[in-house]
Amino acid sequence: MTALATHRVSWKWLVAFATVATLVLVPSAIAYWRRPVDRPAQPALFHPLAWSRPGTDDAALQTLQQQIKAKPNDIVAYISLANAYLQRVRETGDPAFYAKTDALLKQAAKLDPLQPQLLTSEGVLALARHDFAAGLALGKKAEAMDSENPRAYGVVTDGEIEMGQYDEAIKTLQAMIDHRPDFSSYSRVAYARELYGDPEGAIEAMQYAINAGGPVPENTAWGYVQLGNLQFGLGHVDEAGKQYDLAIHARDQYPAALAGQARVATAKGQLEQAATLYGQAFDRMPLPEYAIAHGDVLAKLGRQAEARQQYDLVTVVDKLLTANGVNIDLETALFFADHDLQLPESLARARAAYAARPSVTAADGLAWTLYKTGNMQEAGRYAHEALKLGTRDALKLFHAGMIANALGQTGEARTDLQTALALNPNFSLLYQDLARTTLQGLGPAPASTPRSK
């Protein structure tokens, strides 16, 4: 065996190994990042789902489940069941269905990872889990593959709004409604208008949505709740109450509607009833916001111990959410700030939330936590950003007014607080009185106080 031969053999082996390693590593890495390269043929078009009654009742779910069992290669059935599960979470708040949805979509991805409807559903799931960046990316991918898919536009719109990309969001949304005016696009228009300071226009669009809705009762109920919230935000307590009643009518014991009725009861001074309603809402869907509002009502009633139990409940829910891998949210940061709990953490979380999704809502939360932790200059900056779209939201305006006041900008503070109270005198059980006394403390406005910029 000559040295030369050895040398040549080594060469060959080197190439062989490099090839093997490449063959193993590269596809595996690609699989790992889920960027499939191949697109299998479309399976059956001849599909019963084109006819099936949409819905998420047990029978509908069972039909879909059986269909998958019978035909495990039917990608449409997987996606349809995943969508039904996603709707189920809306209805029950049961997060167990997120895991099931995830499993279904993974299974569907094995059949055809680039199916636009699949990508869209993955986007919806990401959004529901508050992974807005991922949701946006998936939505864009789906949109690129199927420009006629209105759901993809919806996912992109939602993602862009949450990521603070408002100009893009408005464009996407316009394309969405121009493609297909329906419940999905109308209701998103309503939200955009609300953000841009046009709650009346939002009410109009939401009414369109409800008219175009159906036949899923939860969606209709959701629409009425949004209408109620918009009316409440304009200080129209009775009108809001009517909408919440309609929501309950559409779907019995709908938690968001119960919470809405609680809000109306609070505004009317019926605190006992409000407490009961918030409790019922929480029992049906344990959202921290219900426990927070419940605690605030109890505190107002002087039942401090019970209030504290509700606040502890908020912490517990937050803990569990975090343990389940949920994106830490603004809501908790604001809750801490509002109740002077764990202020440094509150600030850190608000900062993190703003970094992850620089929306006006996140800016508002950050501004308020900065105010609560004494960083007035920075708070002022974010308060301005929070109102950059011209949003007419009493709580945001109150935040801005208090911050302006702390910064010595009396004129601005007066305008903001006046505006907030004029818009909705019952905007917050915690703060509406503080808004009034602060405003009184500022004294009457001079003959003409142009708001300084």
Binding site: T2, A3, W13, V24, L25, D58, N324, E345, A348
Partner: protein, 500 residues
């Protein structure tokens, strides 16, 4: 023909090795709680017999309802007793049993209350009631219509199950109830993506005396509960300690540490890949294990202290992904330098001697040890083939493997500090780390011996080319180390939110 077989051998074995290594890198999924944290799950089992109708009633309250009922922490014995006598017994009133359309009174014959550790340091509640109702005399040839309804916790989400299990001497003529217990008395919930949570609150049945009918077999009830939970973290909250309890706890910690090591992404891949490439010895494997243990223990303490005292300035949750990045980067660097070193050993390049046998090559490879840095360092004795193993690189490897503290260990650490049981916590964590390192070392040893076995296979008098092929194994494993590092780093970078 023979050529083909050789070819096959040449390709298949290394390929199998690489595939095996790859399978170790694959991320696995971590199970989550089957039902939501706010569910109240109800289970009734009707056991009609000739004399009476027995009902086994189980309520499984998840973390949030448990908190709502009891507040944080384990309820005191007094509170438990009060609950059992009050609300738990009152559950009876929500159960409605009718025989031939007439309501019958149910008596609670036995009751038990248990708390099981749940997520987030919270508890879940398990209420077990045994109820009984006297059955009206059932003469031969007559029938009875049973109707059962569970009205408890209306409107709350959860698994609702009713099971019918007739006892000996009784026949079920018709029923809409299931005779199959799907959740093992609310201990295991089916997690299949194609099943929705069961929602059955009522059952109807018509029964009659019957002979020769075998009653359905009762399932073997297992003692423990099977909720997904952090059992290691729960150890620190144990309230009564005796030497034997301590011993058990330490052993359990080791076991859990060992299991943790088998969880995905725990450096074992790298360890394995490294050792198989480096032709390490048992000593190396043990040294590596010790390094991992030490790093891991230290890491837990540092991160724990940081959490407690420095979270004002830096949130550990923000630090975590960066630790992963660091760990990944360390691995990449190591992998690359290994690769470079081993490529040189396999294919000496221009600078090396033109003619040499493979033993010379080894010397040559060893002389390239300086790629690790300009400093002098201890060289291990040259191994049989391929590259060499330096203590320094082993140390780096061990550190990178132990750098990311296991979260359950952190829970224990923080729990220990909060509860003032620091010594105990330390012991538990060390035991945990030992268990972890034990498995990692074991895997390493497996690779060492596996590598030797491969070597022996090739060792005889077969062909030099085969040996050369084997010598390329180190190159492949260096590639894998690098690849794994890249993956770890990328994932960590994504997690840190640098790239979106």
């Amino acid at each position: 023909m023979g050529r083909y077989i050789h070819c096959l051998q040449r390709w298949l074995l290394p390929l199998a090795g690489l595939l095996m290594l790859w399978s170790l890198i694959q991320p696995a999924t971590v199970g989550a709680h089957p039902l939501g944290n706010f569910t109240i799950n109800l289970y009734s089992r009707l056991e009609p017999s000739a004399r009476q109708i027995k009902i086994v009633y189980v309520v499984d309250m998840a973390e949030i309802p448990t908190f709502q009922a009891f507040g944080a922490g384990m309820p005191t014995a007094a509170a438990q007793a009060a609950y059992l006598a009050g609300p738990a017994s009152a559950l009876r009133d929500g159960l409605q049993l009718m025989i031939d359309q007439k309501s019958v009174a149910l008596t609670v014959t036995d009751r038990a209350l248990r708390f099981l550790p749940g997520q987030g340091g919270l508890f879940t509640t398990r209420i077990e009631l045994q109820l009984a109702a006297p059955a009206a005399a059932l003469a031969g040839g007559t029938q009875q219509a049973l109707s059962y309804n569970d009205h408890n916790f209306q409107g709350r989400l959860g698994w609702h199950e009713v099971v019918l299990r007739p006892q000996a001497g009784l026949r079920v003529l018709r029923t809409d109830a299931s005779t199959v217990d799907q959740s093992n008395e609310l201990r295991t919930y089916p997690q299949d993506m194609l099943t929705s949570p069961l929602d059955v609150r009522a059952a109807q049945a018509v029964i009659a005396l019957g002979s020769g009918v075998t009653p359905l077999a009762a399932p073997v009830a297992s003692a423990g509960a099977f909720r997904a939970q952090d059992r290691f973290a729960a150890l620190i909250t144990t309230t009564q300690w005796s030497p034997s309890v301590l011993l058990v706890a330490l052993l359990l910690s080791m076991g859990l540490g060992a299991m943790h090591a088998l969880a995905p992404g725990h450096g074992k891949t790298i360890v394995g890949a490294y050792l198989v490439g480096a032709r390490g010895t048992a000593r190396h494997a043990v040294f590596l294990g010790i390094t991992v243990t030490t790093t891991h223990t230290l890491g837990v303490f540092v991160l724990g202290l940081l959490t407690l005292y420095a979270s004002r300035y830096i949130l550990p949750e923000q630090l975590y992904p960066w630790l992963s990045v660091l760990s990944g980067a360390l691995v990449v660097i190591m992998g690359l330098s290994l690769l470079r070193q081993r490529l040189k050993s396999v294919w000496p390049g221009r600078g090396a001697k033109e003619a040499h046998n493979h033993e010379h090559e080894l010397d040559d490879a060893q002389s390239h040890g300086h790629v690790h840095g300009p400093h002098t360092h201890t060289h291990l004795p040259p191994s049989a083939y391929g590259g060499s193993l330096t203590w320094r690189s082993l140390l780096a490897l061990g550190i990178s493997g132990g750098l990311l503290p296991c979260p359950s260990a952190l829970v224990v650490m923080l729990g220990a500090i909060a509860l003032g049981r620091i010594g105990l916590g330390l012991l538990l964590i060390i035991a945990f780390s030992v268990g972890l390192a034990g498995v990692l070392t074991g895997i390493g040893l497996l690779f060492v011996h596996g590598g030797r076995w491969l070597g022996r296979l090739a060792g005889g008098s077969t062909i030099l080319r085969w040996q050369l092929g084997l010598r390329l194994l180190p190159v492949g494993s260096a590639l894998i180390v690098t690849g794994a590092g890249v993956l770890i780093t990328l994932e960590a970078v994504f997690q840190a939110g640098v790239i979106r």
